[in-house]
Subunit: 147 residues, 2 copies
């Protein structure tokens, strides 16, 4: 059985974290979804469909997101050599640089939220959030955005 208190705390803290991410993104003219795309591509290439699955959006929406980021020079597209139907998406040097700066901003912006916890509490919190994550995150290069 799950108590309402945990659920409420999770939901409210999530809205707060999302608020921070939204604001940092907006400060760089990036939506929350684009922020995630950049984060995913930070250490790998990915296909359009895989990105769409992971983010839980339609592939047509993904096309638009990539279009706009590509127009800004943050993202590039390559025809996949293995499957000529597929398109590999990747960060340009400018995209990589921006992503790095934004992630530093996110950590800085979230710092006040975690400042109230000492090192041990932070470790405990990270540990308790782990089982919540494993219910969706898995191995493999990218996982669908299911629950």
């Amino acid at each position: 059985m799950t108590s309402d208190a945990v659920v409420d705390a999770l939901v409210r803290s999530s809205f707060q974290v999302m608020g921070v991410l939204t604001r940092v993104g907006a400060g760089n003219d990036l939506s929350l979804t684009q922020l995630r795309v950049l984060g995913i591509l930070r250490d790998r290439r990915a296909r359009v469909t895989d990105l769409a699955l992971f983010l839980g959006v339609d592939k047509s929406s993904m096309s638009g997101l990539i279009d706009r980021a590509e127009r800004r020079g943050l993202i590039g597209r390559d025809k996949s050599p293995e499957d000529r139907r597929a398109t590999d998406v990747f960060l340009t040097p400018a995209g990589l640089e921006l992503t790095g700066r934004i992630y530093a901003e996110v950590r800085a912006a979230l710092e006040p939220s975690t400042r109230g916890l000492d090192a041990e509490q932070q470790q405990t919190l990270a540990g308790l959030l782990e089982p919540i994550l494993i219910s969706s995150a898995g191995p493999g290069p990218l996982k669908p955005g299911g629950d």
Copy 2:
């Protein structure tokens, strides 16, 4: 000092919680923002500007959100008796009913995420998230969506 591990766990769990909320909302033809509006109005009336401040959106965006919810019969508007410039927004009986059902859905959808934790761990988690919340939540009827 804040470790990257906590921040990463917070961000990732938040995206997962948002994913659940987005899916539950979509299943009821409601955006995340509209879900929040209904949640806020569940136990109080609120003015347009206060809602906008709390959600971190412009008042003109708020007007549109309210318009669409009103058109669906979920929300009503009243001219405030105290200040005739202001508009009080509230849930209709249909809106209240829908909100109740949706919140039950959200708890059910989030249940698998918290199932891995026993009662004591859940309590600990809620407690550790508390300091994160207090950095933004406060007393008063509604608080702006700042960090």
